[in-house]
Symmetry: C2
């Protein structure tokens, strides 16, 4: 099944202890759609500036991503500049230029409105609902958000959450949203707000799925060389939603595999700067890493030979 994603497309300048890059293509819609493109058809709604060239669009088209919903507005493309320390857990934002993104009003093209899967990237929750007003009964709506919206637009965000099926956020955001330090209790409170399925990303510690009575965890793939964590969360969401859309099934065993595919795509993404690694993957490589997650997490059944009690 095919996915509509609405989010940001940006030029990122990134510095980590392992190198730096200037004005490479980034943004939530970019990372999401590249990761999802290995599994499903993806159509992007976003805004770019006059400095966004055909060569840049080709990075999407090469992955068969439908870019007709990416509108070119007058002005410059959104720019973000950030730096990471050795622990790579949190970016320090050095500069944000919203540019054309400041006036982003997502307009969903007519032929995108019946897409069965919708992913709302991390944008203003008012705009997220604006998107949902334009689409027609999608089968599944997944959504991301961030600390900024939790802090500044909580009421609007809560209205959006009442309309989505899956929320994909990080653990600090889950705690902030609910004022609840215990993650399992926080998950219950979030599900009371609307999303029946919750995915909590924990950076280098992996991800947790909470759905019905099911709790499932996947670790982050252990990598010796992490170059750049930018976009890991959106790559995760792309692998997760992308696999679900390809399967067309939201039952528990599919949700679990989707968490693993999300983790797989995030793990590839951080191996190189920007979208370099996501642009150059093959599907067999993805499957190989999926299998590697099995070795990392599965154990054989009980064999207590000398239980005393």
């Amino acid at each position: 099944m095919s996915i509509l994603v609405v989010g940001s497309v940006a030029f990122d300048s990134i510095k980590t202890p392992f190198g730096e890059v200037e004005e490479v293509i980034g943004g939530s819609a970019t990372y999401f759609s590249l990761a999802a493109s290995y599994f499903s058809e993806v159509s992007v709604v976003a805004v770019v500036g006059e400095d966004f060239s055909e060569r840049h669009l080709d990075l999407f088209r090469l992955k068969n991503i439908d870019t007709r919903g990416m509108k070119r507005a007058r002005g410059r493309t959104f720019r973000w500049k950030g730096a990471y320390g050795y622990d790579l857990n949190e970016a320090e934002t050095l500069e944000t230029q919203l540019n054309v993104f400041a006036n982003f009003k997502p307009k969903i093209p007519e032929d995108y409105r019946q897409k069965p899967f919708v992913f709302l990237g991390n944008i203003d929750p008012d705009l997220q609902r604006d998107v949902l007003r334009q689409v027609q009964c999608p089968r599944l709506v997944a959504c991301d958000t961030m600390n900024y919206w939790i802090h500044h637009k909580l009421a609007s965000l809560q209205r959006t959450l009442g309309l989505v099926d899956i929320l994909i956020i990080n653990d600090a955001e889950a705690r902030q949203l609910t004022a609840e330090p215990n993650l399992i209790k926080a998950a219950r409170k979030i599900r009371d707000l609307g999303p029946k399925i919750l995915v909590i990303k924990r950076g280098e510690y992996g991800a947790v799925l909470v759905s019905g009575d099911c709790i499932f965890t996947a670790p982050a793939y252990p990598l010796e060389d992490v170059s750049d964590p930018t976009g890991a969360g959106d790559s995760f969401a792309g692998g997760f939603v992308g696999y679900l859309a390809s399967a067309g099934d939201l039952s528990e065993s599919y949700l679990k595999r989707a968490i693993v595919f999300g983790s797989v795509m995030a793990s590839f993404n951080v191996e190189e700067f920007g979208i370099r690694r996501l642009s150059s993957l093959t599907f067999p490589q993805i499957v190989e890493r999926f299998q590697a997650f099995k070795a990392l997490t599965h154990f054989e059944d009980l064999n207590v030979q000398a239980a005393r009690v």
Copy 2:
């Protein structure tokens, strides 16, 4: 197979957001031996003061733990007082009274010296080597340490590490010991120091095993109510070493299950204050939670119905 553990026995006063207790029995050897006692025979070498009564010893004896190596010295038992905030990740130490523990010189009773499994709790690395000089060719030596020894007695700790098979430490300690932020690289450096098997505890994020080419992860069990994290690390070590000793097999599939049993025992331990939960478990409860870890981490094989690429 039977285990010799050398470590601390203490009276702890603990305050968490969920309650507080005064002068309850604690210490690394206590938590370790209680957790391990569900799997194997355990003999403890430790020192206690004149205020340590027969009633206290009964807490061990009830679990068939051999306490003949717990020597009563003149003076008061080691006391520790600590508090935790809502995140429960790190204790703030409010007071430490070493008391009789200040002069602890472990003397291994003659009939303990051929125990096949040895666990060196978190004590001065000089004393850890002192223990190893007294025992006779144990089949396996596992060891814990802490930031204090890494900072103040690095050379001695490195000598100890040259003599142990398994090091069980937390992730911050692994990074501190190697000055390496990447955990997988840190693991490789630690194994170059001696331990062929490394277990890295990550608190609420679970644990990682690194052995040969095998990397294995287990999450922490998701609990809605964590009362008191004191002793979680030693309970983990007790479950881990206890299961290995009961199995008498150190091959990969046993090591993986041991990580899960360690996680099981740690998860029980934090449910109540002090040793209350570890004192009252049944083996079927342990097996039930072991199975729950399977549901938490296992996923079914690949089923990509619509892979595009």
